[in-house]
Every structure is written in structure tokens, then in C-alpha cells.
Symmetry: C2
Subunit: 203 residues, 2 copies
């Protein structure tokens, strides 16, 4: 695809660096921006640059934040002794949107995965251990994706903080609305071995 | 979806103004940018702003251009007496990528569509008429989308420039690789009434 202008070509190649955006989609987006007011497009560029330059990560939990401490860590209404450990900021947003969790978070920034060259040092594990030793944490809830890397990470962290607090992980089982028939064997087997008394089952 | 930072929220809302990008995709793109170097993201913002501010439209054919006259109009190897009339810049790019057309273009910027409030005055029709009167144009090829608005536009322009040059429109018929069975009646009927002798058919 040959474009009639280098300015256009540069803009298209910038957009097509984004995940899931190919050259054709990039061109569509750029041509859309071309139709907008100059001021509006400049605002678009400025807001993106500003976001990257000025955004902070909470010093306590590594969540995205406008200040040094994020709004969740600074909120005294939330249970500061309960820490939910997640991989990414997207997981924080997902859990927050359930409105069922009133504790705080700790964003690891990934999971231990030797194959991808990610060791414990690249993750926010030190700060988590420090946090648990310093604060009077009551419970650590792991909400990592259910796979080998996630389990390795849980094992590694649990060893490090062993006697300090209670450690749990979110329930794994058949999803609400899912069908038994189509569940994989691992999930089905786990959901049977981790079965709950009916009275204890929270709707 | 509640986001933990206004900077993030602004960036997401800017991205979700783009066509075909919802809030979830916008968040994915913004979080991707957050992982990139500051310099890279600033370059992204700058290139987009610069593109909008500095890009020019060819004074002759209204195509996108880096200079006052676009590279196609400035190219003496191309047949400057042949004008292909298209709706948008995207059509220019599509025709150029076939590498089968060696004339010039004229970008109307849309088609006459009273229902959408688009009249001849909002389109680059005056400049086309002026161009044909000034230059020694031999043929005008209409490559508009085959619909009522396109046909109206062709009719309107043809009336305006009537005796000056030959006027043609790109062939409409069954697409290469298409199946007769699934073609709509209008297309099939036209392709029969506009049939060509087998020898005249260009592969």
C-alpha cells in the first residue's frame, strides 16, 4: 500500500505499532483524524504524551495513580489489611468493576516465567514482602491467572512470607453460566475436589 | 468501568473517539503505550499532531500531499490528460495499489447526497470543472461507489462539463472470483446489458 504523503505514512506506521491494529485500520484511523479540527487532533496527541509522562505508579501497590499513593491505598474506608495480589492493572480494573472487594491490591507486573525470561527480580515481589513485614496484613489473596506460571509465582511468594499472614487464592471452578459438559478436565477435577457445603456457597 | 487515574481516563476517552474503537480496546491500547518508553510515546503524539497540522491537499486534485502539488500531479510520466474522479483519498490509494492506472485523480471529498445535507457546493466540483476548462483533458473516468448518490453525482458533473471531453465510468459487473448465484439482481442485470465481446475482454 503506497501512500501519497510521508506525513501520512509516518502517522499510519505509528498507529500500526499498536497491538491489534494493522495497516488498513491504521489508515482508517488516520484519515478519520485528518477530518477532525486541528485543535482536536493536537489535543489527542498532547493527552497521550501527557498521560505517559505524568502518570505515576502507587509507591505502595504499584497500581496506576495520579499521586504518589493511589486512591485505593489512600481510602481509609477500605480494609488496608487485606491485599489482593494481581498480575496487571487490567486485573485491578476487572476486580474493581465487580464492586465485591473492599481491600487493597498489589500489582506484580507479571508472573514468574523462566521461558519468557521473567524472574522474581523483575516483578514487584520485594515491595510486597516489605509491605507484609511492615504492615499488619491479615490476608493475602492471590488472584493470578490459573496456569503453571501463576502457580509458581504463588508458591514462590508464599515461601517468602510464610508465617506472616493467611494466604488464599480465588476459587477456581466452573464459571457461572458455564456448562459442565464443555469444561476442561483440570477445571472440572479441581472444582470437584474443592467442593463446598451448600450452605457455605455464597451467591 | 472505573479507572484509577484521570490521566488514564482522558487518554482512554481520546482513543475511544476513534471509529471502531470501544472503551475496552482503548484501554488496551493505552496500557500498551504505558509500557513503552516515554520518548516513543511522545513521538507518537507528535507525529499525529504534526500530520494534522502540516499535511496539505494538492491544489489541483485535492489528494493528500506533502507539497502544494501532489506527487501524482507532478509526475510527467503519468497521463495528465486522463482524470479519474473518486470520492475519497482511500479510493486513490486503492486504485494506485492496482498499478493499472497511469492518469491523474480528482478527489471530490464525497458525493451529492441531499439526505445527508451534502450538496455540490461542499464537494470539489468547481475545481474539477475549472480544471477541465483550463487543461486539455481527454477523458474523465468516474470511479464512484455504485449507488444512487454516485449516479446523481456523475449526472450532475456530466451536465456541467458536457461538451469538453469524453466521460466514462468504471465497469460494474460480477467481481472476479465472485459467484453468479450470489450476485444481486441489479448487478447481474447490468452485467448482462453491458456485456462485452469476448475478444474485447481485457484479462
Amino acid at each position: 500500500m503506497q501512500l501519497p504523503s510521508t506525513l501520512l505514512e509516518n502517522a499510519v506506521s505509528e498507529f500500526s505499532k499498536l497491538p491489534g491494529i494493522g495497516k488498513k485500520t491504521a489508515l482508517r484511523l488516520v484519515l478519520h483524524l485528518l477530518k477532525q479540527d486541528v485543535a482536536e487532533v493536537q489535543q489527542f496527541g498532547d493527552i497521550i504524551s501527557k498521560m505517559r509522562t505524568e502518570i505515576k505508579f502507587c509507591q505502595r501497590c504499584s497500581n496506576i495513580s495520579d499521586a504518589d499513593i493511589c486512591s485505593i491505598c489512600a481510602n481509609s474506608m477500605r480494609n488496608q489489611r487485606l491485599i489482593c495480589v494481581v498480575e496487571t492493572i487490567r486485573d485491578v480494573i476487572a476486580i474493581e468493576s465487580t464492586q465485591q472487594f473492599s481491600g487493597t491490591y498489589h500489582v506484580l507486573g507479571g508472573v514468574i516465567s523462566p521461558l519468557d525470561g521473567v524472574g522474581p527480580d523483575q516483578l514487584n515481589i520485594e515491595s510486597l514482602v516489605y509491605r507484609i513485614q511492615k504492615e499488619e496484613t491479615e490476608e493475602l489473596i492471590f488472584a493470578l491467572n490459573p496456569n503453571i506460571q501463576g502457580d509458581t509465582t504463588i508458591y514462590y511468594i508464599q515461601k517468602k512470607i510464610a508465617p506472616h499472614c493467611r494466604v488464599t487464592t480465588i476459587a477456581r471452578g466452573i464459571a457461572f453460566g458455564g456448562e459442565l459438559e464443555y469444561a476442561d478436565e483440570m477445571t472440572l477435577a479441581r472444582s470437584i475436589s474443592n467442593r463446598l457445603p451448600v450452605g457455605q456457597y455464597v451467591k
